[in-house]
């Protein structure tokens, strides 16, 4: 049960709730039906007149947790409860002004559910959350996707964690197909992103949709498969600023507090090795790089460096009190809060685990910039650090997740990690 100062604040809250279904105002609750009925009967007229009037149509429903209740028993229950309220309006099953719920809790184990419920609530529906958005923005029906496109529901949750509000400037440095930007734009953010992969950003190459295609057949992406086209699909294109091809390891931005929010899903190096531009070759051995179509060679970009770069970048480019939201892969047996990368300007304000399987998880880390770089004494630590060595070395995460088979990419297709 939650306490809200008034109904208006409930409505406000639920416009941002991605997972919440329904909020109801609790009218009565207790361990037995009889006690709940007594409470309903005792409600003062000043209370009940808000919803018991001639003009107010109504409807009742039963929700049970941990046990199935048959239809005729439901009707009995409804009758038993509703007679305790002075309801004088019309019944309307389709479109009632007020919807009353009887919620009965039979405990966590449906196989040994008791005859009578452990606890009963009676409430009146106030409003619903935004669960439908996960469907509206589903990647299944999205124009342009890739094999690491972030799930719509999680993207919306990330935008919430980032505190995205209208007119904010939101940036994703590992933008891929831009799923996180779609969610940020839904909440009114103006969005931009970068990615090292020219093909992804331009939407050229193989399509990620194999749906309905014969095995092995390669479908090429259409001409307009790109992030801007996705924004158009959802009528969010006015909030699209730009995307650029760039390597996050090499900064391209003029130093200033530029972004309100940074949301990102960095590459972990599970599907592909993480890369940045560079080479270990001696300068004389390099081919002529000024040739048109020259593709710069890359070297591995260690996970520890990706995270440290991300924090250092955020500390410099976020405005004060702006937020950074990103996923951190962890091995549960080994995890402690020391794994979380730290920076003297950023503090962790949320750390939410999503279990991937018995041994591994990813954690959604939300940090807030609570002081500017200028305020830091240059003699103190001014750069990001990670207290453990987990993310060091090339392919750090692959070695942890697949200790016997760090080179293989084939058997881990089902992981929602990248």
């Amino acid at each position: 049960m939650l306490k809200f100062p008034n109904e208006e604040s409930v409505h406000k809250y639920m416009t941002r709730s991605i997972l919440g279904r329904t909020v109801m105002e609790v009218l009565a609750h207790g361990p037995t039906r009889a006690s709940v009925c007594e409470q309903l009967k005792a409600l003062p007229v000043a209370e009940t007149s808000r919803y018991c009037s001639e003009e107010n149509s109504f409807c009742w429903r039963v929700h049970s947790f941990g046990k199935k209740i048959k239809q005729d028993k439901r009707l009995d229950l409804i009758h038993q409860f509703m007679v305790n309220l002075p309801l004088i309006g019309r019944v309307d099953l389709e479109n009632p002004d007020d919807l009353f719920y009887i919620c009965e809790d039979y405990g966590p184990n449906p196989n040994s559910a008791p005859e009578e419920p452990f606890y009963v609530y009676v409430g009146r529906k106030v409003t619903e959350g935004q669960r439908y958005l996960a469907h509206q923005y589903s990647v299944k029906t999205r124009h342009f996707i890739g094999n690491t496109s972030m799930d719509a529901q999680l993207s919306l949750i990330m935008a919430n964690q980032g505190g995205v509000k209208p007119n904010m400037f939101v940036f994703d440095p590992f933008v891929g197909t831009g799923s996180l930007l779609v969610a940020a734009a839904h909440f009114g953010g103006y969005v931009a992103g970068c990615d090292i992969n020219v093909n992804t950003i331009h939407g050229v190459g193989k399509s990620s949709r194999s749906f309905g295609k014969p095995r092995g057949e390669v479908t090429l992406r259409g001409n307009d498969e790109n992030i801007l086209a996705n924004m158009r699909q959802y009528n969010l294109h006015d909030r699209y600023l730009d995307v650029m091809v760039s390597d996050f390891a090499l900064n391209v931005w003029r130093k200033q507090e530029l972004f309100d929010v940074i949301v990102t899903d960095p590459p972990y190096g599970i599907r592909e090795k993480t890369r940045k531009i560079g080479t270990n070759k001696h300068y004389d051995e390099l081919e002529d790089q000024t040739l048109e179509g020259h593709i710069p060679s890359t070297m591995s970009y260690h996970l520890a460096d990706i995270f440290k770069d991300l924090l250092n970048f955020s500390a410099r480019y976020l405005r004060l009190h702006g937020r950074l939201v990103y996923w951190l892969p962890v091995v549960n047996a080994d995890y402690s809060d020391d794994h979380i990368p730290q920076h003297p300007c950023l503090k962790v304000i949320a750390n939410s685990e999503q279990k991937i399987n018995m041994t591994i998880s990813r954690r959604l880390i939300t940090m807030e910039k609570y002081q500017s770089m200028q305020n830091i004494n240059p003699l103190d630590q001014v750069e990001a650090e990670i207290k453990t060595r987990t993310y060091e070395g090339s392919n750090a995460i692959r070695k942890i997740y697949f200790p016997n088979n760090s080179g293989s990419q084939s058997h881990n297709k089902s992981l929602p990690l990248t």
């Binding site: 007119n167 931009a192 090292i196 020219v198 600023l241 091809v245 390891a249 090499l250 710069p296």
Partner: protein, 122 residues
């Protein structure tokens, strides 16, 4: 006029809803002189003010011009040019490519300041 920081082969004007609050929020984060010069080299100056004015939040005409240049002018094909090194970065399909070649990448620390760009957004 200083050397151009952007050159253009193909350009498009994309209509975008005017949102004075957003433009007002962005102006302090923009180097106005660089924006003005980029507009000059693209020949889209129109009534864009050469100087940033005080109280711009209240001046709708000023904001509308800023909106037009920032949000509606889109370089589809061209180059961004680094004012310090002269390095040219191609723009294709409206998307700038800021990648360096391996030979241009030093061993220096990440997030180096070598590359600065004045007009990265549009």
């Amino acid at each position: 006029m200083a050397d151009p920081t952007v050159t253009v082969n193909e350009m498009k004007i994309r209509e975008v809803d005017f949102n004075p609050e957003f433009i007002s929020r962005m102006i302090p984060r923009i180097e106005w002189k660089a924006l003005y010069e980029a507009a000059l080299s693209l020949d889209v100056v129109g009534n864009l003010s050469p100087e940033l004015i005080t109280d711009y939040e209240k001046d709708e005409d000023f904001l509308k011009e800023a909106h037009r240049v920032l949000m509606e002018v889109e370089v589809i094909k061209g180059f961004l040019i680094c004012p310090e090194s002269g390095r040219k970065f191609p723009i294709e399909n409206g998307i700038p490519n800021m990648l360096l070649n391996e030979g241009e990448v030093g061993d220096g620390p990440a997030q180096s300041e070598a590359l600065q760009e004045d007009d990265s957004m549009q």
